[in-house]
Amino acid sequence: MDNNRKVVPLEFEQPLSLLSQQIDALERQLADNPHVELEADIVQLHEQYIQLKRSLYANLRPIDHLAIARHGQRPYTRDYFERWDPDWIEIHGDRHGADDQAMVGGLLCMGDINVVAVGTQKGRNLRDKQQCNFGMPQPEGYRKALRLFAHADKFGLPLVCLIDTPGAYPGMNAEEHNQAQAIAMNLRELARLSVPVLAVITGEGGSGGALAIGVSNRILMLEHSVYSVISPEGCASILWRSADKVATACQSMKMTARELLASGIIEEVVEEPLGGAHCDYDLAARKIKEAIVKHLNLLMKLSAAELKQQRFSKYRKIGCFTELPVC
C-alpha cells in the first residue's frame, strides 16, 4: 500500500475530521476564487489542525489505543518486512502438511545484521483476510514459527518476532490439531534458544497466541499497540457480562504500551508517526528498524549462555505476590 492513500479517520478523531472538512471547503473556495483573501485562514486552520491532533493524541484513552492498533490500514508484518529488506526471502510451511498464512516467516537483512524473522499477518482485503484468518494462527502457524526458531538457533542468527494478532484461532480444527500444545512448545523452546530473541508488538498482542512468538530477551511495543491476557471484549463479557464494558475492561487491564513499560513487562516504547503508524508506513518502518538494530547490537554482545540466562531471569522475576511469614 502506498503512502498517499486516504487515511480513514477513527471515531475519536471526529473533531479532526470536521476541521479538515472546513479546510477542504476553504481550499475549494480558494481554487474557485483565487482573489479572495483566504490563504492566511487556511494556514491558521492547518496549524490548528496539527495542534488539535497533537493534543488528541497526547490524551488517548486505552480504548482509543485499541482502535488505532486495530485500524484497518495499520501496517502489517509484510509491510514492514518489505520496507526493511526488499529482497527478503520468505520461508513457507511447517513441514507437517500446512503453510499457515497467518504466520509469515523469512530471512531478512536488517542494516548489516542477518536475522530470522517471523510475524503474524492479518490481511488487507477480504480475500487476504480470509486467507490469513484475520491474523489468528492455527497450530500449523505456531509450528511453522517453531521450525524457524530452530533454524535461527542452528545458524546462530538473531530472531525477530512481530506480533499483531487478536489471538490464537479458537476453531475446531485448531483444537483437534492441538493448539495448546503448539503454543506451549513454542514457549518452552523460545526460552531455550541460544540466540538473541527480540519481539515487537506492532498492533494487537492477543493473549497466548501473541506470547507464543513473544518470549524474548526484549519486548518492544509500538506506541499505540496493546498487549493483554484476553481481548477486552472477552474480558467484558466474562467479568461484567456486558458488551458495553469494553472501555472499562481496556482501562482495568492496563494493556497500553506506556502502562506495560511502567510495570516493567516491556523494555521500550517505539514512537509512531503522529496519528498512528498507518499515517506513514515508511516512517513507522524506519523507527522500528532503528530500535530493533539498536537492541540487537546490544544483545549480540552477549554469549549464548548469557542470552539464555538473561531471558530466563527476566521471566523468572515476573509476578506480584506476598510471601507471608511462616508460623
Binding site: R95, H96, R143, L146, R147, F149, A150, K154, A168, P170, G171, M172, A174, E175, E176, N178, Q179, A180, Q181, I183, A184, M185, L187, R188, E189, A191, R192, L193, S207, G208, L211, A212, G214, V215, Y227, S228, V229, I230, L239, W240, S252, M253, K254, M255, L260, S263, I265, R311, F312, Y315, R316, I318, G319, C320, F321, T322, E323, L324, P325, V326
Partner: protein
C-alpha cells in the same frame, strides 16, 4: 427376661435411637449424591471410598487438591512447599467486585489459600515433587502465585533430582492480574525447559476441566500426559469455538478419550489406577545425577514434540 420381652426392649431402644437423631433435609442430602452423568443416587460415603468415581457409570467427579493428594501420596508423606504465598492486587482490579474480595471468597469456598498446592511426597516409597490444582479456588485460574508455586516446584525438582508431577485443573489465566497472568505461562514453561535440560521426568495429569493458559503452557509440556476419563481438555472453551465457527460441536469434542484418539495425550487412566501408573513411570525413569546428562541432548531442539 423372656424372649418376647427382649425383642420388645430392643424395638423400643431402636425407636428411641431413631427419634433422637432426626435428619435435617440438608443432612439427608449430604448423605446422597446424584451422579451427574447417569443420574444414579449414590451413597456419599461409598462414593468417597470409591475415590469419587461413580460405581455405576465410572463418571469421575471433580475432586479437591487435598483429596487428590490423599489419593496419590503415601500416608503422612506430604510436605508442602511455598504454602505461604498470597496474591496481591497489582492492577487494583474491580469488576463487579474487587479482586481482594474475590480472593477471600475463593478461599472461603475452597478452604485453600491459592488454586494450587505444591510440595513433595512419596508414591509407593518413591519421592516426587507434586503440584495439584484445585478448580474450586477461583476456577483454578493461574495468577502470579500459581505461576510462582509451579515454577518453584520445578526448580525444587531440578535441584533435588526429583520427578515432577502436576495435576492440572483450571479455567485458564486469571484476568484480574492482567498481563502478569499471561507471563506466568512463559515463566512456568521456562522453568520446565530447565527441568527438561536436566533430563528429569515430568508427568502432566489433566483432569476435569483443563483449559486456556494452563493447557497452553505447563499442562501440555509433560514427557507424559495422562488424562482422567471424561475430563474436558482444550485451549479455547466450547462456547467460544461454537460462536466462532457457528456450528454445534460433537459431544465427545475436547474429552480425554477424544484427545487420546487424536494423539494429544499418552493415556487415559482411571482414578483408581493413577497412583500405580505414576509410580511405574517414575521408577522406569530414574533421575540422572546432576551434570550426568546423556550427551548431545541438551542442545537438541525438537522441531516437533
Amino acid at each position: 427376661m423372656d424372649l418376647k420381652e427382649w425383642f420388645a426392649n430392643r424395638r423400643k431402644g431402636r425407636e428411641a435411637a431413631e427419634v433422637k437423631q432426626p435428619l435435617t433435609t440438608e443432612e439427608y442430602c449430604a448423605l446422597w449424591t446424584q451422579c451427574f452423568q447417569c443420574r444414579e443416587l449414590l451413597y456419599t460415603s461409598d462414593l468417597r471410598a470409591n475415590l469419587q468415581v461413580c460405581p455405576k457409570c465410572q463418571y469421575h467427579f471433580r475432586i479437591g487438591a487435598r483429596q487428590r493428594i490423599d489419593q496419590l501420596a503415601d500416608q503422612d508423606s506430604w510436605s508442602e512447599l511455598a504454602g505461604n504465598l498470597a496474591s496481591d492486587d497489582p492492577l487494583g482490579f474491580f469488576d463487579t467486585d474487587s479482586y481482594p474480595n474475590r480472593l477471600a471468597e475463593a478461599a472461603h469456598k475452597s478452604g485453600l489459600s491459592e488454586a494450587v498446592l505444591t510440595g513433595t511426597c512419596l508414591v509407593k516409597q518413591e519421592k516426587i515433587a507434586l503440584a495439584v490444582m484445585d478448580f474450586s479456588y477461583f476456577g483454578g485460574s493461574m495468577g502470579s502465585v500459581v505461576g510462582e508455586k509451579v515454577t518453584r516446584l520445578a526448580e525444587h525438582a531440578a535441584s533435588e533430582r526429583l520427578p515432577l508431577v502436576v495435576v492440572a485443573s483450571s479455567g485458564g489465566a486469571r484476568m484480574q492480574e492482567g498481563i502478569l497472568s499471561l507471563m506466568q505461562m512463559a515463566k512456568t514453561s521456562a522453568a520446565l525447559a530447565a527441568l527438561h535440560d536436566e533430563g528429569l521426568l515430568y508427568i502432566s495429569v489433566l483432569t476435569e476441566p483443563t483449559f486456556g493458559g494452563v493447557t497452553a503452557s505447563f499442562a501440555m509440556l509433560g514427557d507424559f500426559i495422562i488424562a482422567e476419563p471424561g475430563a474436558r481438555i482444550g485451549f479455547a472453551g466450547r462456547r467460544v469455538i461454537e460462536q466462532t465457527i457457528h456450528q454445534k460441536l460433537p459431544n465427545e469434542f475436547q474429552t480425554a478419550e477424544h484427545l487420546l484418539k487424536q494423539g494429544h495425550v499418552d493415556m487415559v487412566v482411571e482414578r483408581a489406577k493413577l497412583k500405580d501408573t505414576v509410580y511405574r513411570l517414575v521408577v522406569f525413569h530414574p533421575a540422572p545425577h546432576k551434570g550426568a546428562r546423556r550427551p548431545d541432548s541438551s542442545k537438541r531442539l525438537p522441531v516437533l514434540g
